[in-house]
Amino acid sequence: MPTEADLQRLVSNFASEAKALCEKAAREVLALERPEHAAAARRARDDLVRHLHTLKGSAATLGLTDVKEIAHRLEALVEGGEGPLDAGAVDLFLRALDSSLVRVRAHASGDAAALPPVEPLLESLDQLLSTPAPGDADAAAEVTPTPARPPAGPAPAPAVEPEDESWRVSHGHVASLSGVSDRLRELRLRVIDRRREARVQLEAMEVRPPSVVEVRALLERVESVLTTVADDAEVVAGDLDDALKSISTLPISTALETLQRAARDAARATGKEAQLSAVGGELMVDRRLLDELRGPLIHLVRNAVDHGLEPPHARERAGKARVGALVIRAELRGNQLTLEVGDDGGGLDHRAIRATAVQRGLLGAAEVEALSPETLEQLIFRPGFSTRKDASDLSGRGVGLDVVATQVRRLGGTVAVKSVAGQGTQIRLVLPSRTGSAPVLPLAVGDALVGLPVVSVETVSRVQPRHVHRTARALHVEVEGQMVPLQDLGGLLKVRHPVVLEEQTLVVARHLSTRFALVVDEVREHQDLSIRVLPEEVRSLAAYQGLAVLAGGALLPVLEPAWVAAAVAGREMAMPEAGEGRALVVDDSLTARAFHRAILEAAGYQVHLAASGAQALEHLRRARYDAVICDLAMAEMDGLQLTRAVRELHGGATVPVLVVSAHEEEAARARALQAGADAFLTKRECATGRLPAEVAAAIARRRGAA
């Protein structure tokens, strides 16, 4: 006999099963309302009966009589019927399923006493049962005035469900994890065996010292064993990753089902007609992310119906289909999830947005007129912003979109809106999905190493000068007969002067329909990497979609292909002849480089950085600089050696070189000037802000001398 505590635990466990059953049942009910054809209706009806039957059986076993009675009546309503369900019956069905779920949760948490009586709902269902079969559309129409139709007011929209902190895991997944665990134990036993052998060898050595040949043979054996263990550990780790991935991800379609319901309820509440379709529902994403997104997506769908779609008669007048189209599109690029909620309604009313912005004191009349359409549309994500004069029961006064934006940003994502008057609105959420890995191509440019998602990469080849075409202010490369805009990646990232050289590597890539080409120094072997969100303080950097952790723990900034495509297309290729106000800072201290850069950029210089003398010379071979600021004490090549090397370069004799040092000795100053430096400064003097003045003076002296 189960104890009271056992029973309560079973009821708690049943809550998540009931949730899944009610969701599946709701999906079939919605499919029955507007089936694509008779066979689809039959299939939906069969599946619905099966889900309801399971719900009824489990509830009865656990003594949840109210839930059992609801499920029993719902099952009776659909069993043996034919054809679609009418809207009134669907309303009642959905209300009954919601009620079942609420009741199961209340039983699970011990709050059943606070539940309202179930009898009114059961009576409504009995009334519907006593009318002709729901499959008969005409008969069903007669049912609509019965309590099957919900009470006055909008149909209850599906509430954003409380966070379910537990996950249901299939037996298959558990078995797979057990397998991995067994293999880890096996691996451990093998290591223990080898350790035992090593102990025996060591004891033997105490008796008779081994020869060099024997030691060598022994070490070779140890190396071989360690290699095998490492390889096996890699395989086990991969399997563990796969098992965890399958547990921690869910198809996006699981969220889409709730949205179907939200769209239907919103349409019923507003007297509109809407059909929601989805693209990409099969994609698997981090289930925690999906849980976090459920609320924002419901907001967006309700908002699209309430504010986006026009009433049926208005749509017909505008030459559109009576039923408004809502489209949810999901796309996974690398570890980045894009979700778009679009409607084919009237689009955003720019005049109303302007008026609201002024009325709410967000912007002045002149400022609002100067805004671009894109910036203007972003105002809808401001707190409390709504162009509606009346509050709607469904979406309120625009409260919601700011909540959506806040939630998406909290998850490390971005939100954007695009609207065309008379044609509709699209709201796009781009979020980092934290689970799983994506292939990334590491690209080296100067001292920087960044990654590009392989999914964006088309080809990698050598730069062929005959294929590079220079127009007045831009470069293009001919790829398969098409002229593709070309940029030096180092130039785009502002780590060096952009010059395209023959020995460099060409990466042709694509973002959506936009092709672009990048010149890089080196392309390394691609790796499957998990891309993590940028820390909050640098998340606004649009150039990156995240950071990947490389073997050994180093971080690899991963480029955002959309940013690269836009940057390549939008940037003019600076010509190498230009040299006005360009400074090169050479220091092996990261802090010193950053500090000099800040000071010089504030003074109007364009600054490039080098962490060593060798890298500095590479910069100087690529382009002319108006001044070189180098540290005195650097590893490998110090500031004095670098100064002498600069003087040896073509055109380097007249480049102003300023040597900076943490030491304040006069001897250091004398040595720097003797090596050919134009000036010497201590870092303390730099901290007082003297650097820009000294650089300007050195440039002026050189020009005066010329």
Partner: protein, 180 residues
């Protein structure tokens, strides 16, 4: 006061600051044992000594672990991994408004800000623990645009105690040096 030859070459603001410090030193309690202590971690920046409340400190890491992030603002040195978390590394010299500079920093001090987020700051030396009389901490407040307030510790020495609330705001806003 400006007639005193000892004050030659000082601005009125510096002279005032020094006289305030002297006054505080004179007012130090004679019985240090009775004083409630505030724990901090001190480190030099150039000629001056700064300190962070020990409670805000999460650990230290080598500066070479920082990966520079091209296109980031100058006061952002880059990003680094610390105990599995990815944190942004800032130049403390720049956040403080570049008051002075001694040796090149080689260590990262990892700090939990008042908003809960963790960031790393570069440092010239590994910080060491210091006790500051609580009364001294309570008496001092940073100037309206400062990140730190000068406090006097036994020795006597002056330490600039960094206000974590203000540091949080400065991190969020960007550094004074960035704004030029």
């Amino acid at each position: 006061m400006t007639d005193d030859p000892g004050w030659d070459g000082l601005t009125a603001e510096d002279a005032l600051l020094l006289s305030m410090r002297a006054e505080r030193l004179r007012a130090l309690p004679t019985s240090q044992e009775a004083e409630v202590q505030f724990w901090a971690a001190e480190f030099p920046i150039g000629q001056e000594t700064f300190a962070l409340p020990l409670a805000a400190l999460r650990g230290c890491a080598p500066l070479r672990l920082v990966t520079p992030l091209p296109l980031a603002p100058p006061h952002v040195l880059g990003v680094a991994r610390f105990q599995g978390e990815i944190v942004t590394a800032f130049s403390l010299t720049m956040l403080l408004g570049a008051r002075s500079w001694g040796a090149d920093p080689f260590v990262l001090v990892v700090v939990r800000l008042s908003g809960g987020q963790t960031v790393a700051l570069d440092c010239e030396q590994v910080p060491v623990q210091v006790e500051i009389p609580r009364s001294e901490v309570d008496r001092q407040a940073p100037g309206p645009h400062d990140l730190s307030a000068p406090v006097v510790v036994p020795g006597p020495r002056v330490i600039h105690l960094i206000d974590v609330e203000r540091l949080t705001r400065r991190v969020q806003e960007g550094s004074g040096a960035d704004r030029g």
